[in-house]
Symmetry: C2
């Protein structure tokens, strides 16, 4: 039995919208039972799924050898990477354990006698999620969609087609025994479907792309449906004058090397000129020891080149590279970092606000005031003090798992968990109240009293 | 001195973005002082502004006479309409009186020892507001933008050009004595500017159109910037089997006639077949007495035509019209209503979910269960029980004033006040924490403990 659908795009979207009305009205207990079913099935069929994933990895390896695929994409594809499958399963459990987000009261006002206003959280409706590699996304997204009462259409990339088909089969089969209507989670594999699905703005409420820059830009340019996500993940870490040297090394090395293919990896190191001599050599050395290529601006290059042999040896100097202006706008997604020198904290903020992708930016400083100024002035979804940019992640934030990381300025920003899949509706309950009863001379007045909830 | 700018669009947008960083960092007290200044100035120059508005009204009247402008647009243009100017002023005072929305903590989590996560509300950044008639919008939007710490570019329509210029002059002059940077509120009158402003997605974060269907559709089709608002406002009121007859009449008449040009006016009356004879004649009669043209579907037409002379007289019958299918997809914005007969509550919901614009829909019923079922199943921003659809309004909801009414499924829905102009950022404060410290065998575990705030 195949878990993927090959209906025409309009039909898929329409079916999803119909199913959204059903899943929206199911009690939380039914949605939780569906998550249990998915968890059990993915656990039971782990070997089959990993075998399918191995086929994708094999095909990808040949493409890399031919220079047709980047190494970083392959890393994202690998479900057998230590802990990844377990993390995926744990993510489903974590989401199940979260409070039911549907129908929560977020505002209640007494407008007048026997006239009340309530605001209740509701599912957005129908989501379209398009992703490239990262086959575990299908499990993440399916659980978040089900928990939040949304219908979702999932479209995987060709690089993960075996993994996708295998997981899709397991999930579809698991859901067939639950009260979730089949249209609520639809898994699409046909490549042609994407463009047509992006045209279904009548039925689809939100597109969530999970993938590289090109994919996200293509989607943003080709749909009227709101898009939640991020194209670039150009994160930076700034070393202030009073940074603790060990913290500077730890945070930069972790930010750059813990998982370089991730969107929250540090791509630019910003260094205050006053600590070029005192702090940069140790950071650069530690980075090089992890295999990182360092591309320096003129000032940092000159400083490192003239560092004493004992702090930064000749060999280390010889492999330094010069940065171009373009390097400060580049998400390397690899073991490469650009170094920028600034002469003040506001200059660091200015560099970040004009070059970073408003994803996550960090400062290393011992001063609370400098930290707070940085946090207030940097216009990014995440602003960190003495911590690695790699913390930008729904699981680490305690959201269970994430639907993606958003650099949008509206709706949801940063790692997006359940809350980002919710909207609300206003309900007014009256007893024949009309607007004509209010205002003017002798008309009634609104009370606007807060109701406790 | 002119309050409007004629810089090139890219320059306007860039200036606004720069100013957004400044206004974002001003304390709430400075933003409140700016609102006082605008209030005082608009009060002092009321006569001048009404004189300018009269010129717009005169020009509009000629256009209506020539059939080039609709009567409903003219109604929206009229600032001298009873209470409208005072409402505008009161709106500024109400907004000023609201709690400062900037920098509020909305989430706080202890991730680990000495590692905390906080979420703070922040202004979205730069708003572009484009409106047609309704010159009071400039005061509403300016106050909401300033209170929320956003920069705003406002573009008025040609129908309100005199009013717009007069209000723009007064507001610019008032702000020049405050700490709000001039770029934070820019008033654009050039017609050519719109298309170019819509291209500035690098600098502008959100477009808010305030105007008719055509304007909103044009904007949605011509920008990559997220758009918040509504094209149609096709609201309906459903009369259930057990509706109180008087409430049915009151709510429908108010919904249709209180202000027919408004987006929250009732456009479709849905009637359960069981109350065609008992309830519809009185409703229809009351509507006709207010000058409303009634377009009935076959069943309701037949029922009204066969009503006894005492409940629905011959003359009333003679002016009934037949509805076409198109009438149920039409926002009349005028004294016209379409009547649809259904044979169940779910059929009413089905009609609403497929024909209404997800703006505001009401039920008249005496049963709590029917009311709750309707509220749960209708997928609209506002769902009302025994109350007029005309309540859909930021002032009536207690938001002070509104930036618009949204039928979007993300970010903000229904009447949008200050909250809809806010987003948030996440701040992590650590002491050199790295992601590499966590997970695996012997690694640290996240605490994810809620911090009270």
């Amino acid at each position: 039995m195949s878990g993927t659908t090959s209906l025409p795009a309009a039909e898929i979207a329409k079916t999803a919208r119909q199913a959204s009305f059903t899943i929206k009205s199911l009690p939380g207990s039914d949605r939780d039972l569906a998550l249990d079913a998915i968890y059990d099935a993915l656990l039971a069929f782990k070997d089959d799924i990993l075998a399918a994933n191995a086929k994708d990895m094999e095909a990808a390896a040949s493409l890399v050898a031919e220079g047709k695929l980047s190494q970083s994409l392959v890393k994202r594809l690998d479900l057998s990477r230590s802990g990844k499958y377990d993390d995926m399963l744990q993510g489903i459990k974590d989401v199940r354990g979260l409070e039911d987000p549907v129908g929560k009261t977020t505002l209640a006002t007494k407008l007048d006698d026997n006239l009340t206003l309530h605001r209740y959280t509701t599912p957005i409706g129908t989501l379209l999620i398009i992703f490239e590699a990262r086959p575990e996304v299908i499990a993440n997204i399916s659980s978040l969609a089900i928990k939040s009462g949304n219908a979702a259409i999932l479209k995987g990339g060709k690089e993960s087609s075996y993994s996708f088909a295998a997981i899709a089969d397991v999930i579809s089969e698991a859901l067939s025994s639950t009260r979730i209507p089949p249209g609520a989670i639809q898994l699409v594999q046909s490549r042609e479907a994407v463009k047509e699905l992006l045209d279904q703005d009548v039925y689809i409420d939100l597109v969530i792309p999970r993938g590289g820059n090109d994919l996200v830009r293509y989607i943003k340019d080709n749909t009227k449906i709101p898009v939640m996500g991020h194209a670039d993940g150009l994160c930076s870490t700034y070393i202030h004058t009073d940074a603790d040297p060990k913290i500077a090394v730890d945070v930069v090395v972790d930010g750059k090397t813990d998982y370089p293919a991730a969107c929250n990896a540090t791509e630019t190191l910003i260094v205050h000129k006053d600590v070029l001599e005192s702090h940069l050599p140790a950071i650069a050395k530690a980075l090089q020891e992890k295999g990182v290529s360092i591309r320096c601006d003129e000032q940092s290059l000159a400083s490192l080149k003239s560092a004493p042999e004992t702090t930064f040896p000749t060999y280390a100097k010889s492999i330094l590279q010069s940065a171009t202006e373009q390097d400060f706008n580049t998400e390397f997604l690899d073991l490469t970092i650009a170094v920028k020198t600034v002469d003040s904290l506001p200059a660091a903020v200015e560099h970040i606000n004009s070059h970073s992708s408003s994803h996550t930016d960090a400062i290393v400083t011992a001063s609370k005031d400098s930290a707070e100024m940085f946090c207030r002035m940097v216009d990014s979804a995440g602003v960190y003090v003495n911590a690695s940019t790699r913390f930008a992640d729904g699981f680490r934030y305690g959201f269970g798992t994430e639907v993606g990381i958003s650099t949008n300025k509206i709706h949801a920003r940063g790692p997006v968990g359940l809350e980002g899949l919710m909207i609300y509706k206003y309900v007014i309950r009256g007893e024949g109240h009309t607007v004509g009863m209010y205002g003017g001379d002798g008309g009634r007045k609104y009370l606007h009293e807060k109701i406790e909830f």
